[in-house]
């Protein structure tokens, strides 16, 4: 359906395009606009949509893939238009490449391209804090407005323009109202706050209306609001549910990584909370064959949720990677599970940047290539481990992970 939405503006005009380089230039412009517009539909964070795509991460991969392909096609648009006139008269060709000339559609088109470039550069080049990243990402919305204005001033009001405009408007409105302002989010309240370590806060939230149907190991988008001595930042952030209690309360495990999460350390019972989700399905519907679990840092929480709920039912080798040389968060609890469960083997690995201890541990696992491997941790480490596992003969389809991130 999303592909159809992406192609609709192009399909509406393709029959009228000239069959030459100029025509291909117009084609790349419409196709790029359609792809970027449709990609916006994949940023709405609806759990049902995420399920259709096989998880929020895969939906975001599609969002990124369609967006970047659209950007490349938009870059090709002025180059192809200019290329058409190159042999006839280079001066005419240059008019299509001249940045910011007096022609309004040209000005708007260039402004859109520059805004896309800067917005994507900030997204790709820098590892920004989430709040700043979000504000810079808005530049891409401005680029979309400029791009559609370019189309309108150059080509007038058409069905193709409407086909590109409508998905973008619907997606942005939907995202702002549902995901950012939390319309339809479920009301919860903080009932208890624990601090297992200096950096980690465990927050127990109880439902104030119908509880969210959530499986162990999933995560939720959460916003904390006001309490008697606490002022939440009100933004929705992803937090893993490390336990679902029998009375439908959820235990959220939050590590102080940014301004908002640091502030949460001073959270108190009674604070209003709103939840969206659930998201994350990489631990759902697992086959009953031997498994390998690898968690790094706060990535331990989805596995912790599984173990807190019930003992493992298949042979499971688990590695917990952490920077602390001793007393890593939840290490004692995990050791206890391993002692009490015959099918669970647990290894705590204190390591910094060198993955050698992990790879050595993995090479000692019997029939590794037949195992399903579940990973949770920072994206660079997941990429590294995934490549290594594939080199060892573990098929890509047996490697499962989900980045608990909204970028």
């Amino acid at each position: 359906m999303v592909i159809t939405v992406a192609l609709l503006p192009t399909l509406a005009i393709i029959a009228s395009l000239p069959f030459n380089i100029f025509g291909f230039g117009l084609l790349s412009g419409w196709l790029g606009t359609g792809l970027i517009s449709a990609s916006l539909l994949l940023m709405v964070r609806e759990p049902i949509w995420a399920d259709w795509f096989g998880g929020l991460q895969r939906m975001y991969q599609w969002h990124h893939g369609m967006g970047i392909m659209g950007y490349v096609l938009l870059l090709a648009h002025p180059l192809l238009l200019a290329g058409h006139y190159l042999t006839l008269n280079p001066d005419i060709a240059w008019q299509y490449l001249l940045p910011f000339n007096s022609h309004l559609p040209n000005f708007l088109g260039w402004a859109a391209l520059i805004a896309f470039m800067l917005g994507l550069a900030a997204t790709f080049a820098l590892r920004l804090p989430y709040g700043l990243w979000r504000r810079i990402h808005v530049l891409l919305a401005a680029a979309m407005v400029l791009g559609l204005s370019h189309v309108w001033t150059a080509d007038g009001f058409s069905f193709s323009l409407m086909a590109a405009l409508l998905p973008a408007v619907i997606a942005v409105a939907w995202r702002l109202l549902r995901a950012d302002h939390g319309i339809g989010a479920r009301p919860y309240e903080v009932s208890a706050v624990h601090h297992p370590t200096e950096q980690i806060t465990e927050v127990v939230v109880q439902p104030l209306s119908t509880p969210m149907p959530i499986a162990q190991g999933q995560f939720v988008s959460t916003a904390f609001f006001e309490g008697s001595n606490f002022q939440g930042c009100g933004e929705f952030h992803p937090y893993t549910v490390s336990h679902v209690t029998k009375n439908n309360s959820l235990v959220l495990t939050i590590k102080a990584l940014g301004d908002c999460t640091r502030h949460i350390q001073s959270l108190e019972p009674g604070v209003a909370v709103r939840l969206q989700g659930p998201y994350g399905n990489f631990l759902l519907n697992r086959p009953s064959t031997p498994e390998v679990w690898i968690a790094a840092g706060i990535g331990i929480t989805p596995f912790l949720a599984l173990l807190r709920n019930h003992p493992v039912t298949q042979h499971t080798d688990m590695a917990y990677i952490h920077r602390e040389s001793s007393n890593a968060p939840y290490e004692n609890e995990l050791q206890t599970y391993a002692t009490n469960q015959n099918l669970l083997r647990f290894q705590s690995l204190a390591m910094a940047n060198d993955p050698a201890p992990l790879f050595e541990w993995l090479t000692n696992i019997t029939r590794l290539s037949e195992r399903h491997v579940y990973l949770c941790g920072p994206p660079p480490l997941i990429t590294l481990i995934t490549h290594w596992l594939q080199e060892q003969g573990v098929p890509r389809l047996q490697i499962h992970f989900e980045q608990f991130d909204f970028r």
Binding site: Y85, P90, D91, A93, H103
Partner: protein, 119 residues
């Protein structure tokens, strides 16, 4: 994804800069423009060339034979075809919807000039 962004952006700017350098260094030439002796046509002559296979237009006192250009026109043929065989200055200036043609279009038009319109 990240690599695709950087490579595509780099190629884009290299193309723009290369083109600009090549254009700055090349001698100015306008030799593709039709420089045949000026022929004067009346509007009644222009009106006879009103088909897709034979399309003339009078625009701001100049007469153009746009027959070979028609397949290249960005907008659909039905948009430009009614202007064949007419005094099309207003249609050219507004595209019939209050929008100007680009500088590139103005430059391109010169290549199709075949004469001037008799007053």
């Amino acid at each position: 994804m990240k690599n695709l962004y950087f490579i595509a952006t780099l190629i884009f700017w290299l193309t723009i800069v290369s083109f600009w350098i090549a254009l700055s260094w090349s001698p100015e030439s306008d030799n593709a423009i039709n420089r045949n002796p000026i022929v004067v046509y009346s509007l009644s002559e222009v009106i006879k060339h009103n088909q897709q296979t034979d399309c003339w237009m009078a625009i701001h006192g100049q007469v153009y034979d746009l027959t070979t250009y028609l397949p290249q026109h960005p907008a659909a043929l039905r948009v430009i075809l009614p202007s064949c065989g007419t005094e099309a200055s207003q249609a050219y200036d507004t595209k019939n919807r209050s929008r100007e043609h680009t500088n590139a279009a103005d430059m391109l038009l010169k290549h199709y000039r075949i004469g001037v319109l008799k007053h």
